[in-house]
C-alpha cells in the first residue's frame, strides 16, 4: 500500500519520460492523470486510516542487513495528513503549470519524482531511508527552480540546494552515530526508528545529536535566522515550485522536528523548549515585520511562511496536547492556504507578468473572482475563526501558554502583524481603481483556475469548521509522543497541558 504510494509517482515519471518530447501537449495531462492515481491512493489511505497511536500499513524489507538499513514504511497520525496533502497539491501545481512551455516533459517528470521523494520522506520509518528521501527531494526541486524559475533562478536554486544540504550534512553524522550507538548497545547497527527510540543515550551525546538533527530541520523549516534561502527560492521558483516548496517541502522540517527530535531525544527536547520556542517566536514576529514592506508579492508570502511556520515550531516544543495537535494541523493548513496564495500570485503573474506590488492596483475591479479567492485565503492565513488557519494558531497559542506563557503571548502579536501585512498588501494590490492600462485589461479566473482553487478553498472551510476530521486522527499519535516524553523524562506540563486533564474539565 505505502510502497504503492511511493512507486506510482516514480513509475509515472518514467512513463512521462517515455512519451516523446515532441508530443508536448500530452505530458501535462498525462502527469495530472498519473498524480490523480496517487491522490486516489492517498484518499484511500485517509479513509482506511484507523485513528489510534502507532504506525499502520507498516512495511519492512531488509535493504542491506549488515548495516541494518531497510525499506521500512509506516504511517501514523502525524505523517498521514502530510502524505494526503502532498498527493493533493501535486495535481494542483501541475494544473497550474500550463504556462510552462519549455521542456514540459522534464518538468512533469521531475514534479512526479519530487512527489515520490516527499511522500517517501513522510512514510519512512528508517532513518537511512528517510535521509535518502530527504536529500533526494532536493534534486528535482533544484532543477524545477533552476530551469523554470525567473531571472535570478540559478542563484536561488544554488542557494536552496547548498543551504539545505549543509543543514542535513550534520544530521547524516547524527544518523550514523545513532546507528552505531545501537550497534554498541544491541550488537548490530540499526536505522529502524523503533529500535533507535529504545536506545538509552547519555545526556551529553543526546544533546549533540539533537543539535545535529535540529539544525537540519531548522534550515528546512526554515527557522530564524536560517531562513534567508526561502524568500529567494520562492521568488524565483515557478508557481508549481513555490506551491510545493511552501506546501510540502518546508513541512519536512517541521515534521522532522516532531518525528525525530521529539521522538528520539526526549530529554534534549525538554531541555531545549525555551531555545527552540524563542527562535520560533522571533521567527513569527520577525517574519511578519519583514513581510510588511516587501515590494514583491511572492516574497511577501514567502516571509509570511517564515512567520506561520514559527507557530508550528512553537507548538511542537510547547509539548502540550493542544499545541502539538495545533502544530500538526497547522502544517496542513499552511500547506493549503499558502499554497493557494502562491497559486493566486502565480495566476496574477501569468496575466500581468509582474509580482511587484507597486505595479499592481485595483485588480478587484477587473478580477472580482480572483480577488475574492485571494481575500478568502488572506483571511484564512490571518487566522480567521471558521477557517483552517485559526484552528492551528489557536490550538498552538492556547496550548503553548501552559509551558511557554511569555512566548505564547508574544506569538499572539504575530496575529496582529499578519493582519497588517496581508491586508495592506491586499489593499494596495486589489482595491482602488486600476490606474495603469495593463491592469485594466486583465481577465478573471478561467474554469481551469477555478477548478484548481475550489478544492483548496473547500478544504479551508471544512477543516476550519470540522477540525475533528483531522484532529481525531492526529491526536492519538501526538499523545503517544507526549507520553513517551513524559515517561522518559518525567516532564509534565503545568495543568491543563495534557488532553486528558482538559477533557475532564471540558465536558
Amino acid at each position: 500500500m505505502l510502497t504503492a504510494l511511493i512507486l506510482t509517482p516514480m513509475v509515472g515519471a518514467v512513463v512521462v519520460a517515455l512519451v516523446p518530447a515532441r508530443r508536448r501537449e500530452l505530458h501535462l495531462p498525462l502527469g495530472i492523470g498519473l498524480s490523480m492515481i496517487t491522490l486516489t491512493l492517498a484518499g484511500y489511505l485517509f479513509w482506511a486510516f484507523d485513528p489510534v497511536a502507532g504506525y499502520q500499513f507498516a512495511e519492512d524489507l531488509a535493504w542491506y542487513r549488515p548495516w541494518g538499513i531497510g525499506w521500512r514504511l509506516g504511517v501514523d497520525g502525524i505523517s498521514m495528513p502530510m502524505v494526503v496533502l502532498t498527493a493533493l497539491l501535486i495535481p494542483i501545481s501541475l494544473g497550474a503549470s500550463t504556462t510552462i512551455t519549455r521542456r514540459v516533459k522534464e518538468f512533469v517528470a521531475l514534479t512526479l519524482l519530487l512527489e515520490a521523494g516527499m511522500i517517501g520522506a513522510f512514510l519512512a520509518t528508517d532513518l537511512f531511508l528517510f535521509f535518502v528521501f530527504f536529500e533526494a527531494v532536493l534534486i528535482p526541486m533544484y532543477f524545477i527552480i533552476g530551469i523554470w524559475g525567473s531571472e535570478r533562478r540559478v542563484y536561488a536554486a544554488f542557494k536552496f540546494f547548498i543551504y539545505t544540504a549543509f543543514g542535513s550534512a550534520l544530521m547524516l553524522a547524527g544518523i550514523i552515530a545513532l546507528a552505531l550507538i545501537h550497534n554498541a548497545q544491541a550488537g548490530a547497527p540499526s536505522f529502524d526508528l523503533a529500535d533507535l527510540m529504545r536506545l538509552d543515550i547519555s545526556a551529553g551525546t543526546e544533546r549533540w545529536l539533537f543539535a545535529g538533527f535540529a539544525l537540519a530541520f531548522a534550515v528546512k523549516v526554515p527557522l530564524f535566522p536560517l531562513h534567508t534561502w526561502l524568500p529567494d527560492a520562492h521568488t524565483e521558483a515557478p508557481t508549481a515550485g513555490s506551491i510545493l516548496l511552501a506546501g510540502v517541502l518546508l513541512k519536512l522540517g517541521t515534521y522532522g522536528l516532531i518525528r525525530f527530535n521529539l521522538g528520539l531525544f526526549p530529554q534534549a527536547s525538554v531541555d531545549s523548549v525555551w531555545i527552540m520556542g524563542t527562535l520560533a517566536v522571533v521567527g513569527i514576529i520577525y517574519g511578519a515585520v519583514v513581510a510588511i514592506v516587501q515590494p514583491d508579492l511572492k516574497r511577501l508570502v514567502a516571509y509570511s511562511s517564515v512567520s506561520h511556520l514559527g507557530f508550528v515550531v512553537l507548538g511542537t516544543f510547547a509539548l502540550t496536547s493542544g499545541s502539538l495537535q495545533g502544530a500538526v494541523i497547522q502544517n496542513v493548513n499552511h500547506g493549503l492556504t499558502t499554497g493557494a496564495l502562491f497559486l493566486l500570485v502565480g495566476m496574477i503573474y501569468d496575466r500581468r507578468h509582474t509580482k511587484q506590488i507597486s505595479e499592481l492596483d485595483g485588480l478587484q475591479k477587473v478580477m472580482p473572482r480572483l480577488s475574492g479567492f485571494f481575500l478568502f485565503m488572506v483571511f484564512a492565513s490571518i487566522g480567521l475563526p471558521g477557517l483552517n488557519g485559526f484552528i492551528g494558531e489557536f490550538l498552538v497559542l492556547i496550548g503553548s501558554y501552559a509551558t511557554l506563557a511569555p512566548l505564547a503571548v508574544l506569538a499572539a502579536l504575530g496575529v496582529i502583524l499578519a493582519a497588517i501585512y496581508l491586508l495592506w498588501a491586499y489593499q494596495r494590490v486589489f482595491t482602488g481603481l486600476p490606474r495603469s492600462e495593463e491592469n485594466r485589461v486583465l481577465s478573471d479566473l478561467s474554469i481551469r483556475e477555478l477548478a484548481l482553487l475550489a478544492p483548496l478553498a473547500a478544504l479551508v472551510v471544512v477543516i476550519g469548521l470540522y477540525p475533528g476530521l483531522l484532529l481525531d486522527r492526529i491526536a492519538p499519535s501526538t499523545e503517544s509522543t507526549l507520553d513517551r516524553i513524559e515517561a522518559s523524562t518525567g516532564f509534565t506540563v503545568s495543568y491543563p497541558g495534557r488532553l486528558e486533564d482538559v477533557l475532564v474539565v471540558g465536558r
Partner: protein, 485 residues
C-alpha cells in the same frame, strides 16, 4: 635444487594481459592491421582475464570456506590470491575495459602509436593488478612501477601537444621521486622489521614490541607519502591537476582510475593488514592528510574553470574521503568506494572527451553551456555521475561515503567525519556548478555528436552509479567478503 613453487591460477589474469600486450605489439610490428584488430585482441585479453578472475573468486571462496586461507599465499609469499586482491583486480579490469573503450577514438587517431598505447594500457593494468595482490613490499613496488611507468608514457601519448608533454614530464619526475621515497620507506621498514612480506610484518608486530621504533616510523611515513602521492592526496596532489589537464582526455579516466584503485588497495593492505598494530601512530597522520585533502580539494575545485582540473581536485577530495575509510579501518568500505569512484571517474572523463574532443588538454566549463539542449542524454548521464561523486542519496556515491564515514565514526574519529560531511557540502557546490552550466545556461554552437563508445561507457557508469546506489547489497557483500588475509 628446489623448484620454484608456481600457482598459475593466481597470475593467469596478468599473464593473459601481458600476452595480449605482446600479441598487439608483435602483430602491429608484423602486419600493421587496422586498429579494430588490435582492439579486438586487447578486448579478448581483458575478457579472458576477467573470466579467470571470476574463477579465482570462486576458488578463493572455496578455500576460505575450507579454512585453508594460508593456501592463498602463493609464490612463496610474493603475492596472495585473497578476495581483496580479486576484488581490486575486477575493479581494475572494469576500469581498463571502459577506459579503452572511451579512449578508443584517441587510440585510433594516434595511428601507429595506437598499438603501443593499447599494449601499455594492458601492461599497466597487469602491473597494478599484481600490485593489489602483492604480499611482498618489493613485489608491490615492482607492480607499482610497472603501472606508473606505463602511465607516464600514456600521459604523454599525444606529445605533439605541449600540454601532453608537460604533463608527462611532471608526472614522470614527481612520480619517480615519490616512488623513490616509497621504496626507501620499504627499505627502512625492512630494516626495522627484517621482513618484506606484509603478513609477516603483521606477525612480527603481533610478536615483538619494538623498543626504539623511530626507523619504523620514518619508513611508515615515507610509505604513506609514496602511496599518498599515487592516490593524489594533499599535500602530495600537486601533480594531479596538471597531469589530468595535460593528458589526453580519452585516457585520463583510465589513468586516474587505475592509479586510485591500486593505490588504495595497496594502502589498505599495508596499513590495515601489515602495520595495523601501529595504528595508534599512523591513524592521526592519515586522518590529518585525509582532512587536508578533503578541504583543499573541495575548496580549490570551487574556483576552477576547467572541468578536467575540477575533476582532478575533486579527485583530491575523494582521496581524502577514501582515506577516511582507511582511518576507519573499513577495508570493504574503501574497496566499495574506490571501485564506484573509479567507474564514475572513467564515465565522467568519457563525457569530457566527447564534449571537448579526445586528445585535447583544455576542457573549459563554457564548452558545457546548454549541453542539456545539445545532447540531453549526455548531460543527464554526466549529471548523474556528478551527483554520484557528490554523494547524493540514491547514488552509489552516497552509499560509499556512508560506509567510510560510519567506519571512521565508529573508530571515534568524530571530528574527521564532521569535516568530511562539511567538505562534501562544499564539494557539492562545484558539481552543481557544472550542472548549472549544462542545464541553466543557453546553448552555444551546434549539436554535440556523442560517439557510440562514449555512450556505452557513460551508460555503464550511470547504471553502476544508480544500480549500486539503490541496491548496494551485491557489491557491498563482495567487498566485505573480500577481506585481506
Amino acid at each position: 635444487m628446489t623448484t620454484p613453487e608456481v600457482s598459475w591460477l593466481a597470475i593467469l589474469p596478468e599473464l593473459l594481459l601481458a600476452l595480449g600486450a605482446g600479441v598487439v605489439l608483435l602483430v602491429d610490428v608484423e602486419w600493421k592491421p587496422p586498429a579494430w584488430v588490435l582492439g579486438g585482441a586487447a578486448g579478448l585479453a581483458i575478457f579472458l582475464a576477467t573470466g579467470v578472475t571470476v574463477v579465482q573468486w570462486i576458488e578463493v571462496a572455496d578455500v576460505v570456506r575450507a579454512d585453508l586461507a594460508a593456501d592463498l599465499v602463493v609464490f612463496s609469499g610474493l603475492i596472495v590470491m585473497d578476495g581483496f586482491a580479486v576484488f581490486g583486480r575486477l575493479a581494475l579490469l572494469a576500469v581498463t575495459a571502459m577506459g579503452l573503450v572511451s579512449g578508443w577514438r584517441l587510440i585510433e587517431s594516434t595511428g601507429r602509436r595506437g598499438a603501443e598505447a593499447i599494449a601499455l594500457v594492458l601492461l599497466a593494468t597487469a602491473g597494478f593488478s599484481l600490485m593489489v595482490s602483492s604480499n611482498n613490499l618489493v613485489m608491490l613496488f615492482l607492480g607499482l612501477e610497472v603501472g606508473s611507468i606505463a602511465l607516464y608514457v600514456l600521459a604523454g601519448l599525444t606529445r605533439e601537444r605541449a600540454g601532453s608533454d608537460e604533463a608527462a614530464m611532471k608526472y614522470f619526475l614527481l612520480g619517480s621521486f615519490a616512488s623513490a621515497i616509497f621504496v626507501y620507506g620499504v627499505a627502512l621498514l625492512y630494516a626495522g622489521t627484517g621482513e618484506l612480506e606484509i603478513i609477516a610484518i603483521r606477525e612480527f608486530f603481533s610478536r615483538v614490541v619494538v623498543a626504539n621504533p623511530a626507523v619504523l616510523m620514518v619508513g611508515l611515513g615515507l610509505i604513506i607519502v609514496g602511496l599518498g602521492f599515487k592516490v593524489s592526496a594533499a599535500p602530495f596532489h600537486a601533480w594531479a591537476p596538471d597531469v589530468y589537464q595535460g593528458a589526453p582526455a580519452g585516457l585520463v579516466g583510465y589513468l586516474a582510475g587505475v592509479a586510485k584503485v591500486a593505490g588504495f588497495a595497496a594502502m589498505a593492505r599495508i596499513f590495515l593488514t601489515g602495520v595495523v598494530e601501529l595504528e595508534a601512530s599512523w591513524v592521526p597522520v592519515m586522518g590529518g592528510i585525509a582532512a587536508l585533502s578533503m578541504l583543499l580539494g573541495s575548496v580549490v575545485a570551487l574556483v576552477q574553470s576547467d572541468v578536467k582540473r575540477m575533476l582532478a581536485y575533486s579527485g583530491v577530495a575523494h582521496a581524502g574521503f577514501i582515506m577516511t575509510g582507511v582511518v576507519g579501518a573499513v577495508s570493504d568500505g574503501v574497496l566499495f568506494y574506490v571501485a564506484v569512484y573509479a567507474l564514475q571517474l572513467v564515465g565522467a572523463f568519457a563525457v569530457v572527451s566527447a564534449v571537448s574532443g579526445p586528445a585535447v588538454t583544455a576542457s573549459e566549463l563554457s564548452d558545457y553551456k546548454g549541453l542539456a539542449a545539445k545532447s540531453p542524454g549526455l548531460a543527464a548521464g554526466f549529471s548523474v555521475l556528478l551527483l554520484g561523486m557528490a554523494g547524493m542519496p540514491l547514488t552509489a556515491g552516497f552509499v560509499a561515503k556512508f560506509g567510510v564515514f560510519s567506519g571512521a565514526w565508529d573508530r571515534g574519529q568524530h571530528w574527521l567525519v564532521i569535516i568530511a560531511v562539511l567538505a562534501s557540502v562544499i564539494a557539492l557546490a562545484f558539481y552543481l556548478r557544472i550542472i548549472v552550466t549544462m542545464y541553466m545556461e543557453d546553448a552555444e554552437g551546434a549539436e554535440t555528436a556523442v560517439p557510440v563508445p562514449v555512450r556505452w561507457v557513460v551508460l555503464l557508469a550511470v547504471a553502476a552509479t544508480i544500480g549500486w546506489g539503490i541496491f548496494p547489497g551485491f557489491l557491498l557483500d563482495l567487498a566485505s567478503d573480500a577481506l585481506a588475509l
